[in-house]
């Protein structure tokens, strides 16, 4: 494939689009699919055919539009691609009125107001194509400037320049730790060795997080393009996408995307008729959370038991089968194509001083608008929860927001006006993590929350190092005692002691960060622990603390 071939393909695609007066985009990501979006799409197609409109109106299955709470979502766009109206909660029975409304006044009862902050306050870089293109057709990605970044790299830039551009952008790893991506790339690029590998970490396992899944389901080619650019920059020729098996739709779309890209010569041997080769394979995880840790992930790809090993050596020096390996998260790779297309300086304008660009968050828990959002780094928690998230249901009071999944902490009300970036979040004891954000209100018991995450870490610990293997189990038992109402103040002291031990001595990130939910809840909500222990009651009314049981018995 040459630049001319690409332009021709794009032109053909645009030409085909021009034949339609409207396009009906139906969300086909996992959230909307689970509320029968596929049936709604079939009904709309049938209705169009029955009305003889199928030559003017195109039905397009697209990826995530973000507001999962209101799914299934359907959007009607005009020939130029501008949004005319968005419908929410669409069922197959709505198809006739929906089709009848195309190009006319919208069906008021189904309209989803897109002027609300949830839509207007977002800045889309990673999700720019989500909800707009059909993830199963490479032509649509190409028509949306797809693979232009790769083209530019291969024909106009040297690998060193590509690394420089990424460094200039200030992009930091979106998997959670926030390591500067450019630095990682240059380490791999400089590492000696003929054989190098690229790995995309799609083992998203945090409870309540679904950013990576949505990206893979909605725009898989973007991730492949990012990986190919990374391969060009570092001198790798083979890549793996390590995706959890619990994401069948993402895997299916990825495999489909790889096949399409290979057919067009955008992946595989002699890419775009040059000497650059890059093949990609999908590897499935077997359900272990710890395999999201990079060294455990590498072991898993090698066919070994998924356990971490001490670093150094870092994978950039000695990774998969002992070769220099670049591991980045899905969202990190998804940022690469726009950076190369628009330049590192453009990217560096977005965000805060030390955290550039945007971040995708999966907003979940006690918040009105649950779903997927992308905001610039530095957006305050208050804006995310109250403006984009439209506040807490039933007017209840905000208590805390949990970021970063089981490795993160609970951030209390006093930090609501804090801008979210890697460093500020770390300062209050939590971590950015992959982007899960669980909102909790006054009906959530913080001890119970800590117990939930500790149970998760306990069962997901790989069992290799002693502090994590036995420590998480002991901490979980203590939290159970406290929520049962049989805990003592000594247990709290012991919890703190073990938290320090796990944080300082565990082998990998899982154990080191496992105490974060306990440490932050102890720091900000200690009174809830003492209420369970001394008064025998759960302030939020969640736990069956002994005192409460006794009261019920008396009544």
């Amino acid at each position: 494939m040459t630049a001319e071939d690409l332009n021709e393909l794009v032109e053909k695609e645009l030409e085909a689009n021009r034949g339609f007066t409207h396009s009906i985009n139906v969300c086909m990501a996992a959230g909307c699919l689970s509320s029968r979006a596929d049936q709604a799409m079939d009904a709309i197609k049938k209705e169009l055919k029955a009305k003889g409109m199928d030559k003017q109106v195109r039905v397009r299955p697209v990826g995530c539009m973000g507001l999962c709470a209101a799914g299934p979502l359907v959007e009607i766009r005009d020939a130029a691609g501008n949004s005319e109206v968005m419908y929410q909660g669409v069922t197959p029975e709505n198809a006739p009125e929906l089709v009848a409304s195309v190009g006319k006044a919208p069906v008021q009862s189904l309209v989803c107001d897109t002027s609300i902050p949830f839509f207007t306050r977002q800045v889309k870089v990673v999700l720019e194509n989500c909800g707009k293109i059909d993830p199963e057709r490479i032509e649509e990605y190409l028509a949306a400037d797809g693979y232009r970044g790769l083209f530019k790299c291969i024909f106009e830039m040297t690998p060193v320049q590509v690394v420089e551009e990424v460094t200039k952008s200030g992009l930091r790893g979106r998997g959670g730790a926030g390591f500067p991506t450019g630095l990682k790339w240059s380490t791999v690029a400089k590492a000696p060795g003929k054989q190098k590998y690229i790995i995309c970490n799609a083992d998203e396992g945090d409870p309540g997080a679904f950013m990576d899944r949505s990206i893979l389901e909605s725009d898989p080619h973007r991730v492949l393009e990012g990986m190919a650019i990374a391969a060009y920059a570092t001198g790798a020729n083979h890549g793996y996408i390590y995706c959890r098996a619990e994401y069948p739709l993402a895997v299916k779309r990825l495999k489909n995307a790889i096949r399409q890209a290979e057919r067009l010569g955008l992946l595989g041997q002699e890419i775009m008729n040059t000497t650059f080769n890059f093949t990609v394979e999908v590897r499935l995880g077997a359900g272990a959370f710890v395999c999201g840790e990079e060294t455990a992930l590498i072991h898993s790809i090698e066919g070994k038991r998924g356990t971490p090993r001490p670093r150094p050596p870092f994978p950039a020096q000695s990774g998969l089968w002992g070769c220099p390996t670049l591991i980045n998260n899905v969202e990190t790779f998804a940022n690469i194509a726009p950076i190369l297309r628009k330049g590192g300086e453009w990217f560096a304008q977005i965000g805060t001083e030390k955290s550039k660009g945007t971040k995708v968050f999966a907003l979940a828990g006690r918040v009105n608008n649950t779903g997927l959002i992308e905001v610039p780094m530095g957006t305050t928690l208050r804006e995310i929860i109250y403006s984009l998230g439209n506040g807490i249901p039933d007017g209840r009071k905000f208590k805390a927001v949990q970021t970063g999944g089981p490795s993160g902490g609970c951030i209390p009300e006093q930090y609501l006006d804090m801008g979210v970036d890697y460093d500020s979040i770390a300062q209050v004891g939590s971590i950015m993590g992959s982007g899960g954000m669980i909102v909790m209100d006054e009906t959530s018991c913080m001890v119970d929350v800590a117990k939930f995450f500790m149970e998760f870490c306990k069962s997901e610990s790989c069992g290799k190092c002693i502090p994590c293997r036995v420590g998480t189990s002991q901490m979980y038992d203590m939290l159970c005692k406290i929520t049962d109402g049989t805990g003592t103040l000594e247990d709290v002291i012991m919890l703190e002691e073990l938290s320090d031990l796990l944080k300082s001595t565990s082998l990998c990130g899982l154990g080191m960060t496992a105490p974060n939910p306990v440490m932050t809840t102890l720091r900000y909500f200690r009174h809830e622990y003492t209420a369970h222990i001394e008064e025998g009651k759960c302030p939020a009314g969640v736990c069956n603390a002994a005192g409460k049981v006794a009261e019920e018995v008396r009544a």
């Binding site: 997901e460 610990s461 290799k464 036995v470 189990s473 300082s504």
Partner: protein
Amino acid sequence: MSTLASQIVTLKIDGKDCGARGDETILEVARQNGIEIPTLCHFDGLSDIGACRLCLVEVKGSPKLFPACTTLVTEGMEVLTTSERLRRYRVQILELLFTERNHVCSVCVSNGHCELQDLAVKLGLTHVRLPYRYPRLAVDATHDRFVQDDNRCVLCQRCVRVCDEIEGAHTWDVAGRGIESRVITDLSEPWGSTESCTGCSKCVHVCPTGAIFEKGKASGEMVKRRFVAELAAKRESRDE
């Protein structure tokens, strides 16, 4: 290009000036210089996995702790092998180990010859403040000559490594996750009916506790022989 092995580095361990090759670990250099660092999963002649966390040391300039067994020495490094913080962590780790399974020394075949016991004595662990978990674990006595007892296992994986790296049989491995982890033989079959086990007894002799022992030994009678390290050294010299 110069390899790590050909580089000579100088460093300080507990204030003592040490010289070393660039491919040596902190643990190796410390021991050459008569500085003792407690270890459990490490075994001379086997690969290191950094699992027990007892050999963690402080390195000046970093808030992180480093496992001495897997961290290579670097030029100008200043290592601290004992501090109040390190001592506290080591005792806590041992405490966790004692609560994990059923380590009842008085009825153990390895009583008096047990590395876990020795460590507890050396590090001054006098009592355990955490609740014992008392799991109910099976004992595998199906092998003709040996017994494997999960109750005494500390999951150091020495048996797994010696069987794989020295004997080449890979009879042992770990199954399960987290607190449910267990060492298993073949595909979790009774040891006696495994096909890969050669009966070489190396696992018995590298096991630090009474988790793997010879049949016919009573309490305190199982003394382990340390022939594996010599074996590994001999092989290495033959390879060179």
